[in-house]
Symmetry: C2
């Protein structure tokens, strides 16, 4: 199984442009025979929201929204899995979410449980349990950025059977990159952090 | 508060010699005004047991044994705390234990829960919960070597209020030194690993 991660700097607010770049990066991953590609947190919108208006404008429903549809189409076409962070609108609320799309047309979503700093102004806390999804090659869990600092997240995913923890991120604090080496060993999982750089 | 750790290579089986060296190292720590000094796993006996005979001969009762008495006397004299690993005899069983001795004459003991490899030939698994002890300067927890790889150990100690996790070790695998950086951040504790070197 071949896993890749895509790190880049989305341009805030320019969803169409970001999505074009994302598809370009995904193509590079597909050419390298990746089975799974992980993208950063809020990778289609950018991270630094400054108003509720922006959140409303840049959020999408899952799986009906443009970004999820584009990613799902690509996953089907190229026979691979993609995990990507995006701003989700659902029942008048907004979530900092990650989607997992696969070649069978399935879509799973994880909503960030541990919001960081100003994210609390814009997003609701994810209410769902930490779940593991069986793909054709591996059992995959998702967490988003700041979730990492709560050891229960990776631990629960590992105990639920995850082999790979996909970790879309927009890291603000400087600790994660070194810190997760230990968490991966303690929990016997691979962790794929895809950071906005 | 000043914390020190003492790393050295005990000579297997030579308890008197090791204890003399340990007291010499402790004196250096005391001269530097340490409030807490941490020693390696099985620091008075050495680590590589090859027979039950050796385990019987080198184990001591706590707190009555020679090593604990010597450490406790030093702690009282120098007004500091010491955590040290030793082989404990208790009710016809043997434990890979750590003692915490303090200036008030108190002794606490932790018995290693997660025995590594051949340790299982010689020692019983520690049956006690992970406890935190209030010293004059900080709340202290103990774990021994391989315990580190189970994230629940540090997490439970942290949730029980530990500020410092003392970690007498004889590290065999190469992961711990880097891995615990993350566990310390995730759990917001200081971890003092004192390794046999």
């Amino acid at each position: 199984m071949k896993v890749g991660y895509i790190q880049f700097k989305p341009t805030f607010g320019e969803k169409e442009k970001n999505l074009r770049r994302i598809v370009g990066f995904l193509k590079q991953g597909a050419e390298k025979q990746a089975d799974l590609l992980v993208l950063p947190e809020l990778c289609n919108s950018g991270y630094v929201f400054r108003s509720e208006e922006e959140v409303k404008k840049l959020s999408e429903e899952v799986p009906e929204g443009q970004t999820t549809r584009a990613l799902a189409g690509f996953a089907e076409e190229e026979n691979l899995y993609i995990v990507a962070g995006l701003s989700e609108r659902r029942d008048q609320r907004f979530f900092n979410s990650a989607v997992l799309v696969g070649p069978d047309g399935s879509t799973a979503v994880y909503r960030k449980a541990h919001l960081f700093n100003e994210e609390k102004l814009w997003f609701s806390e994810g209410p769902d349990p930490f779940r593991v999804y069986r793909t054709s090659n591996a059992r995959i869990g998702m967490m988003i950025c700041f979730d990492w600092i709560f050891p229960e997240v990776i631990r629960v995913l590992a105990l639920e059977g995850a082999q790979i923890v996909c970790h879309p991120s927009n890291l603000v604090l400087p600790y994660c990159q070194k810190a997760l080496l230990g968490a991966a060993i303690q929990n016997r999982v691979f962790i794929v952090t895809a950071n906005r750089i």
